[in-house]
Symmetry: C2
């Protein structure tokens, strides 16, 4: 609908910046509008999609390579949650009117770095004009053995509830990036939290363990309690989480020690990109030892029972209200 | 990054509007962040992605069911061009701040209608806030026998060049929707062209013929001459098109008869969503008879030769310059 021309054209952009990123035997140098994907016998394809909008999911002024990395990583996190091996992705790129080639080059540097790190090539996509805001839409593909489907709804009473890594850093990191919390953090803690927001660590290393041992699994993108609520609702079970057992970083500890109300951000804020999963008690030792061997800490934070909803126990074992900590909504 | 709440929340929206549209055995009522896809033995998956932005690819004020239909159909057109059977799609939905539930309901009516018409269920997706503009990102999946890959680059000297339907209606329809051309068209022609812009007809019916008989194929979304140029470049061949043989509708004929300069829009404008494909001479009769049986007109418009670039011949057989008719760029 528009023939406005600016900087290099779409075809030249694809040839210069995106063709080098693509999987040759699926996307043919992006010379076609479609990609072709063969799924090995005995495997299924896992699909997931996350859109990211400037100044909604990241800051437009963030480093372009980190924006690219975050866009890939939030999708890799979804694949890891299903126990799937990263296969590749399609990129929808809506460029604002003020894009520059320098920006695009750095964005592609970020894509290239994480593609290599996670063995996750570009399969195709589309570039359009998105006048006001950079808008990214990633569709991610993973491979998984046929009979493995670690769905949220499979959480069963008696299962143990685990999380990976530490919880709450992303939400606190967002506040740090907004210029908050500076007076109560060391420089190192400040940098740590900002990094946790800007550059999530998808727990791809846990995927084999998740696929083999977990009953239910999801990544935590909208806050531990909000996402646990989604799991409880999908599985029609109750999930009880012990606040004391929720692993938090030293930086997050420094925040909640000085500002106890910030537990609400830690347990209810978004952008963790850690995994929330359930393990039957018989697999507990194996799950913990595999995670240790993978170098990714996991923590037993609660349990699944009959009933519904999420229940949070404080140090004294008393149930706390979580009403205002599951309210995270994207729009 | 935002906890602004408005109308129904994301979870309720998914449950109410999108879960009824999903393929149950792949997407589990959208209760999970991922979908699972099994590809039948001997088949491959064809992937394509098209993003559509309000007032770039469609008008924000267009009927929401037609916006939904167009978003699906431009992707179905890409699948048809590869000869693939529609399998399903993922939807990235960026909603502007002023969205209403009425709008969303009508949008989903449009999705539901075309899902049924093309047997093309929802597999999953993501909903986000896209403050200024409705932004749609569709990733479409099709199935195709393993050994069929009807790539642009496979066009070979000696092949015959075909198009489906009529060319130029989409570009003229856009002008009609902008309030132009009213004085030179009958009411019926006016409505016909607007409809051709608003509601493309993906040529899914031709897919079996394309997969079996065509050497190269693509859909025409950026103008016949521009897309033919992409095919010529990918295949490193020359494509010669005879203007006289390019099929145009009665409405388009009325326009170019009164305004011969409008041939530039007909041959160079976007939004046709017809197919451009090449057929070896030995398959000519079969291709034409299959298309006839499918009820989709196809027309032999040119030929593939050694060389490069696209050449347009006028009625007298003289070569015309096409320099300014291949300039369509999306941003």
């Amino acid at each position: 609908m528009s023939d406005q021309k600016r900087r290099i054209g779409e075809s030249a952009m694809i040839a210069r910046y995106f063709a080098p990123l693509c999987k040759e035997d699926a996307a043919y140098g992006l010379s076609d509008d479609a990609a072709f994907l063969s799924v090995p016998d005995g495997q299924q394809l896992v699909l997931t999609k996350d859109m990211l909008v400037a100044d909604v999911h990241f800051f437009a002024k963030d480093r372009p390579d980190l924006i690219a990395a975050k866009a890939l990583r939030v999708n890799l996190s979804d694949l890891a949650a299903k126990g799937a091996k990263p296969y590749g992705y399609m990129l929808g790129l809506g460029l604002p009117l003020d894009w520059t080639e320098d920006w695009l080059e750095q964005f592609c540097v970020g894509l290239a770095r994480d593609q290599k790190l996670f063995d996750f090539p570009l399969l195709g996509g589309d570039t359009v004009k998105s006048p006001e805001r950079l808008t990214l839409s990633i569709t991610a593909f993973g491979l998984l053995d046929h009979h493995r489907q670690v769905l949220r709804k499979n959480a069963a009473p008696g299962d143990l509830v685990y999380v990976s890594g530490t919880i709450g850093d992303g939400a606190l990191g967002l506040q740090v990036c907004k210029g908050e919390l500076a007076d109560i953090l060391t420089q190192e803690q400040h940098a740590f939290l900002a990094d946790r927001f800007l550059l999530p660590q998808p727990r791809v290393a846990l995927r084999e363990m998740i696929a083999r041992l977990a009953t239910a699994s999801m990544d935590i993108s909208d806050g531990l309690l909000g996402d646990a609520t989604k799991m409880a609702q999908a599985a029609k079970v109750a999930i009880t989480i012990s606040q004391e057992n929720v692993p938090i970083s030293d930086a997050a500890r420094a925040v909640v020690t000085q500002m106890p109300d910030m537990w609400q951000s830690v347990l209810g804020g978004g952008d963790d990109y850690e995994l929330l999963f359930t393990i039957p008690p018989k697999h507990r030792i194996e799950a913990e030892s595999v995670a240790k061997a993978c170098g990714v800490p996991i923590a037993h934070v609660g349990s699944v029972g009959e009933g519904n909803d999420v229940h949070l126990r404080d140090k004294q074992g008393a149930l706390q209200s979580i009403g205002n900590m599951t309210a995270y909504e994207h729009f």
